[in-house]
C-alpha cells in the first residue's frame, strides 16, 4: 500500500493519513502498524517515552524513513515526493542543529532561495523577538539561542503542516512559552495543522486539540481532547476506600494532592456506579493518562 491507496486528502480533509504504518530498523519495528489521521486545523501532541518511536514516525512523515503500510501526507507519498512535500510541510528534527559555520542572516537568505514558501521578512521579525541577531554566527550562540533561530526559520515557512520533534529542547521556560504563544496565535490559522512531540506534556496540554500516544512503537491512543474528557474518568477518593477502588481495576491509581484525600483512580469509561459514589470526579491530566497507558506491566505490579 502507498499514498495512492489512501483517498486524496482534499476529499477527506485529512492532512495526514496512516494505515498499518510500520518502520523497521533491521529486525526492530520502531513504528509498529500504527493507523491515524490528522485533519486540518488541529494541534496534535505526539507523546511517548524515549525510544517509543516518535522521532521515527516524524521522520517517516517527511520521507526520511522507508515505510511499510499506507502513508499519505498532504496527499503525497513522503518518500517518493519528499521534496514537494517539504515545500508545504516544515519539520524540526529532535537533534535540530543549524550549521555552525553560518551566520543566522546567511541562513535566512539561503532559506529564501531554497524554500518557495519561506518569508525572510517574517523570519527577521520573529528573530527580533529573541536575543539572536542575523549577524550572529551559529557557533557563537548558546544552545537555546540556536533553537530560537531554528524555530524562527521554520515558523517563517508558509506551510500546511508543521512537524516539531522536541522543538523547545534547551529553551528556558519564557522562550518556550513565547514560542507556543506564537505558534498558536500567529501560525495556526484553522487550516494548518501541527504535530508536536515533547516531554513537557503539562506545558502544551492546553494547546492541544488531539493526542497520539506511542508505546514501544505501537499507537496506544489516538483521540481528541474533547473525546478524552468524555472517555476517561478520574475519581479522587479517600485512602479508606482505596481497596474498593483497586477492585474496580482502574487504569491507574495515583496521587492528586497531599494527605489521605489526595488519592485518585483513572478509569477508561465510566467507573462502576458503586465505586463512583465513593469518590469525586476530577479531570484526568494528559500526564496521568500517559503514565496509565504507557508504563510497563512489570512496573505496575511494583507500584501498588
Amino acid at each position: 500500500m502507498n499514498a495512492a491507496d489512501i483517498q486524496h486528502p482534499q476529499a477527506t480533509d485529512q492532512l495526514v493519513e496512516a494505515r498499518d504504518l510500520t518502520v523497521r530498523y533491521g529486525a526492530k519495528r520502531a513504528v509498529d502498524g500504527v493507523s491515524f489521521s490528522i485533519p486540518k486545523g488541529r494541534v496534535v501532541g505526539l507523546l511517548g517515552h524515549n525510544g517509543a518511536g516518535k522521532s521515527t514516525l516524524m521522520k517517516a512523515l517527511v520521507g526520511l524513513a522507508p515505510t511499510e503500510g499506507a502513508l499519505s501526507v498532504l496527499g503525497l507519498d513522503p518518500v517518493k515526493d519528499r521534496v514537494t512535500l517539504l515545500e508545504s510541510a516544515c519539520y524540526i528534527p529532535d537533534v535540530a542543529t543549524l550549521p555552525r559555520w553560518a551566520r543566522v542572516g546567511e541562513l535566512i537568505r539561503m532559506m529564501s532561495s531554497l524554500h518557495p514558501h519561506f518569508s525572510a521578512e517574517r523570519a527577521a521579525a520573529l528573530l527580533q523577538r529573541t536575543s539572536v541577531s542575523p549577524r550572529d554566527k551559529v557557533k557563537n550562540l548558546s544552545k537555546g539561542m540556536v533553537v530560537q533561530a531554528h524555530l524562527a526559520l521554520i515558523a517563517a515557512i508558509d506551510a500546511k503542516l508543521m512537524i516539531l520533534d522536541e522543538p523547545t529542547l534547551g529553551l528556558d521556560v519564557l522562550s518556550r512559552k513565547a514560542f507556543y504563544e506564537m505558534l498558536i496565535d500567529e501560525w495556526c490559522d484553522g487550516e494548518r495543522s501541527v504535530l508536536i512531540s515533547t516531554h513537557q506534556v503539562e506545558e502544551i496540554e492546553s494547546l492541544l486539540s488531539d493526542v497520539l500516544m506511542l508505546n514501544e512503537g505501537k499507537l496506544v491512543l489516538s483521540i481528541s481532547l474533547e473525546d478524552m474528557d468524555q472517555r476517561f474518568v478520574a475519581l479522587s477518593h479517600d485512602a479508606s476506600v482505596a481497596q474498593e477502588m483497586a477492585a474496580a481495576h482502574p487504569l491507574l491509581k495515583y496521587r492528586v494532592g497531599p494527605g489521605p484525600n489526595g488519592n485518585a483512580a483513572l478509569f477508561d469509561g465510566p467507573p462502576p456506579a458503586s465505586v463512583e459514589a465513593l469518590g469525586r470526579r476530577v479531570r484526568p491530566s494528559l500526564v496521568d493518562l500517559f503514565v496509565a497507558l504507557t508504563r510497563k506491566p512489570e512496573l505496575d505490579r511494583t507500584q501498588f
Binding site: 530498523y25 522507508p66 519528499r82 517539504l86 559555520w101 553560518a102
Partner: protein
C-alpha cells in the same frame, strides 16, 4: 537547477575564507619571498639573451597558475572526499534534510563547485597573480623597466591560451577522475576515515593480487590509465611545441602557444574515444547512485 545555485552559494558561504587563504597565502608568500629573497636562474635561461625578460614573465605566470591550480585541486579533493559526512560532524545534516532539496542535488552542487568551479577560479586567479609575480621576478633579475617593455601581446595571448586550454580540459579531467573521486566519497560515506585507506590498499593490494595470482593486470592498468588520461586532458603534450626553442629565443614558442593549445585540446577530445571513458562514467554514475541511496538510508537512521 533553481536549487543547485543556492546550494552552490552555500559552498561559497562555508568555504570562502579557506578559498581566499588558499589563493592569497601562496601568492602573498611568493611575492614576499621573491621581493626579498635571493633569485637564481640557470645558465640555459641566461643564454636566452634579449628574450630572457619575456620568458621570465611567461614562466612566472605559468608557474603561478600551476601552483594555485594544484593547491586548489588538492584541497578540493580533500573536501570532496568527506562530502557525504561533512554535515554529520555538527549534526546540521538534520537541518539540510529538512529543506526541500533532493539527495542528488545535495551531492551534485558541491561536486560542481569543488571539482569544477574552484579549480577553474584558481586557474584565473593564479594567472592574474602570475602577472604580479612576473613583475617582481623581472624587476629583480633584469630591471623594472624591462617589465614595462615586454612583448605583452604575445605574453597575454600565450598565458590566456594556456589558461583556456586548462579550463577546457578541466571538465574532461574531472570526468576521467570521477570514478576514483566518487569511489573515495562513497567509501568515506560507508567507512568514514577508513575510506581513503580502503581505496589505497584495495587498489594497491587488489592490483597486485590480481596480477600475481590470476595474471590479470587490468585493475592496475585501468586505475593508472584514468589518472594518466586526466593529466592528458589538461596537457596532452603529444602535440609538442611547449619546448622552448633556443634558436628562436623562446618568443616563437610563446607565439605558437595558442595554436598548440587548440591542437592539444583536440587531442584530449580525441582521447575520449575509448571504451574506457564511457565505462568510467558508468562506474561513476553507479557510485553517485549508491551515494544517494546511502543518504536516503542515512537519513532514516534511528533517532
Amino acid at each position: 537547477m533553481k536549487r543547485l545555485i543556492p546550494l552552490m552559494q552555500r559552498e561559497w558561504l562555508q568555504h570562502r575564507n579557506g578559498w581566499l587563504m588558499m589563493a592569497g597565502i601562496p601568492l602573498g608568500l611568493s611575492l614576499l619571498l621573491l621581493s626579498f629573497g635571493q633569485i637564481q636562474i640557470g645558465q640555459e635561461a641566461q643564454a636566452a639573451g634579449p628574450a630572457l625578460p619575456a620568458l621570465l614573465a611567461a614562466g612566472s605566470i605559468a608557474g603561478s597558475t600551476a601552483v594555485i591550480f594544484l593547491i586548489a585541486a588538492f584541497s578540493s579533493l580533500v573536501i570532496v572526499s568527506n562530502l557525504a559526512r561533512r554535515d554529520h560532524a555538527d549534526r546540521s545534516v538534520e537541518f539540510w534534510l529538512s529543506v526541500p532539496v533532493s539527495h542528488s542535488e545535495s551531492f551534485a552542487a558541491p561536486l560542481i563547485v569543488h571539482l569544477l568551479l574552484v579549480p577553474a577560479a584558481a586557474l584565473v586567479i593564479g594567472m592574474l597573480g602570475g602577472y604580479a609575480v612576473s613583475f617582481i621576478v623581472v624587476s629583480r633579475l633584469v630591471g623594472a623597466e624591462a617589465w614595462f617593455v615586454l612583448p605583452w601581446g604575445t605574453i597575454v595571448m600565450a598565458s590566456f591560451s594556456l589558461m583556456l586550454r586548462l579550463l577546457a580540459g578541466l571538465p574532461l579531467a574531472m570526468l576521467w577522475l570521477s570514478p576514483l573521486i566518487l569511489l573515495v566519497v562513497l567509501l568515506t560515506a560507508w567507512f568514514r576515515r577508513w575510506g581513503w585507506v580502503i581505496l589505497t590498499v584495495g587498489l594497491g593490494l587488489g592490483s597486485y593480487l590480481l596480477k600475481l595470482v590470476f595474471g590479470q593486470p587490468w585493475l592496475n592498468r585501468i586505475s593508472s590509465e584514468l589518472i594518466k588520461a586526466a593529466g592528458r586532458s589538461l596537457i596532452n603534450g603529444d602535440q609538442g611545441g611547449l619546448v622552448v626553442d633556443k634558436a628562436s629565443q623562446g618568443i616563437d614558442a610563446l607565439q605558437l602557444l595558442p595554436a598548440w593549445a587548440l591542437a592539444d585540446f583536440g587531442a584530449a577530445l580525441q582521447a575520449l574515444a575509448t571504451p574506457l571513458f564511457p565505462g568510467a562514467l558508468l562506474f561513476a554514475a553507479g557510485c553517485f547512485f549508491l551515494l544517494v541511496q546511502w543518504r536516503q538510508r542515512g537519513a532514516s537512521a534511528a533517532g
